[in-house]
Symmetry: C2
Subunit: 324 residues, 2 copies
């Protein structure tokens, strides 16, 4: 089995959706296909859906599977990239799934898998930053918070492929708990889950927000974009909650700069895509306050422009790098 083509497919596989993108040999994105994950149908069904997303995207691009060299995929949770297994992925309920082997069987193509945030970091580093910095910290704020480290030009895997879990860093040991995240962890303070939770609690406490006019009293189906719209209409509650999340993000950024000394820190993920422009000045200010004078305070802190395409781009980069 070998991919004979020179195109790549990158897949971003998450708790709610599967996004597959077809890339040209020079990493131009040709077409994408999005399917919902439907994790509740079980592992087998989801793997079949991933394979279908790949086939459909290739067809959308007027290509044939034979024109694909390899498929890369970013999966949520802990991923054994070398062994091709998802060790566990809480938000789809997977444990020890040999995803690489199962997809290769279905597609007849080489498949390479990686943690979704590590894949996104690869995408940001190689596609967006053209592999120029020596080192980069990628931080992705979405439903949860994840990250990926590029050190000396290489993705840092860590023992047991466990490096880069920046969302689990405790930054406020006395802080609030949200969802599954550890008490006071970065994720429990700045993920979309945490932000939505704080807004809902504030509304229950009787605080006013335009969001209840927009979405109804229970704030059902709230999305990050709703927060952006509320912010731009001058909503004080949303402003406060987003500023708090940004301040916490600034602390996490400073921590990572102190420990790793990267050349650049890039922020991405759904929360940043929607609210990054509003959050960046607060993040930068808080990080600068905490950094040592004369050393780390000239590290660039940027917003990724890849948005939703960071994951598929990075997965395609992975496919290329591993199939060489």
């Amino acid at each position: 089995m070998a991919g004979e083509g020179n195109h790549f497919v990158g897949v971003d596989f998450g708790g709610t959706k599967i996004l597959a993108g077809v890339f040209s040999p020079s990493f131009k994105l040709l077409k994408t296909v999005k399917l919902s994950t439907k994790a509740e149908r079980g592992v087998e069904a989801v793997i079949e859906r991933i394979a279908r997303a790949v086939r459909d995207a290739v067809d959308e691009a007027d290509l044939d599977l034979k024109q694909i060299r390899a498929v890369g995929l970013g999966a949520p949770g802990a991923v054994d990239s070398e062994g091709g297994r998802v060790i566990y992925a809480i938000n789809v309920g997977w444990e020890n799934v040999p995803l690489k082997k199962e997809l290769e069987k279905r597609l007849g193509l080489p498949v390479f898998i990686e943690n979704d945030c590590k894949a996104s970091a690869l995408g940001v580093y190689h596609i967006e930053l053209k592999s120029k910095p020596r080192s980069m910290v990628g931080i992705f704020l979405g439903t949860g918070v994840g990250g990926g480290l590029i050190l000396n030009g290489e993705l840092h895997a860590g023992e047991n492929f466990a490096a880069g879990e920046v969302g689990h860093m405790v930054i406020d040991a006395d802080g609030a708990k949200a969802g599954r995240a550890a008490r006071g962890s970065f994720e429990s303070l700045a993920s979309r889950t945490a932000i939505f939770h704080r807004i809902k609690m504030a509304v229950k406490d009787g605080q006013k927000t335009i969001l209840t006019e927009m979405l109804g009293p229970d704030l059902e189906d709230m999305r990050s974009g709703d927060l952006r719209r509320a912010l731009r209409r001058g909503d004080k509650l949303v402003e406060k909650v987003i500023a708090e999340a940004a301040t916490h993000t600034g602390v996490a950024v400073a921590n990572l700069i102190c420990v790793l000394g990267p050349e650049v820190v890039v922020l991405g993920g759904g929360v940043i895509e929607a609210l990054g422009e509003e959050m960046l000045p607060v993040i930068q200010k808080r990080a600068q306050e905490l950094l040592l004078p004369g050393t780390s305070n000239d590290v660039r802190i940027l917003l990724s422009q890849l948005g939703d395409h960071a994951g598929i781009s990075g997965a395609a980069v992975l496919a290329q790098a591993r199939s060489k």
Copy 2:
């Protein structure tokens, strides 16, 4: 100028003392000499004292400077290892000192300098762990808190030589401030300075401790060893303060494991030398509670046995590595 010999001198240069050790070609420690730093006498005088400590140690070992290949030195603060400059070192009041050049002029030998905690990490990694793990995080609890990262067998310098400043990680954004450290930083919660501060505050608040019997009501000249003695006599206040510092250290250890995925975490420094056995179980317990199941929770967390000699050992390793 070239060192013709095959022995090495390692120097640990700190706020209160200068320790120089002479090592055989196989890194057996032959002799040490300790001088007080006397930072108040100015940069020139301190550099002269460092040179004297090196000469005296070589003489103590019945050797001649000609039998030394190179000198390595760990200095406090931010060190430009390649340029041979101490960028700044708060606790001796130095800024932008060309220490390498000045010492080479005085000694007629190649001198290599590094941040003191990075040097200690090198010593622990190469001398104590025989360079076996692929990656190691070294954490040193003393007057302040510093660290050194070994990734893929190499010391990770970071941009501007600023990596490894683990003491500046904020782990409790609502936490107490101590000394110069940032609010809620690991250093402000678990350094000797922080521990002593908490004990003194508690005594002022009227809490009882054997320490006042041992040292008088103002707890003058308190040392880490006094805390160990108090602990072993069942002192409840010291027990509580040390347990808190150990709990905070456990949080920092878990954070570094999440981000870096090291094979081993080694704890050292004066606080650990005196109190490590009492602190380790608390540190390990807290770290395990915070780590993700199935991935990082089998990372080994150890106490360095090098004690006060970690710095000079690592400086000697540096001297060897750089003079090859």
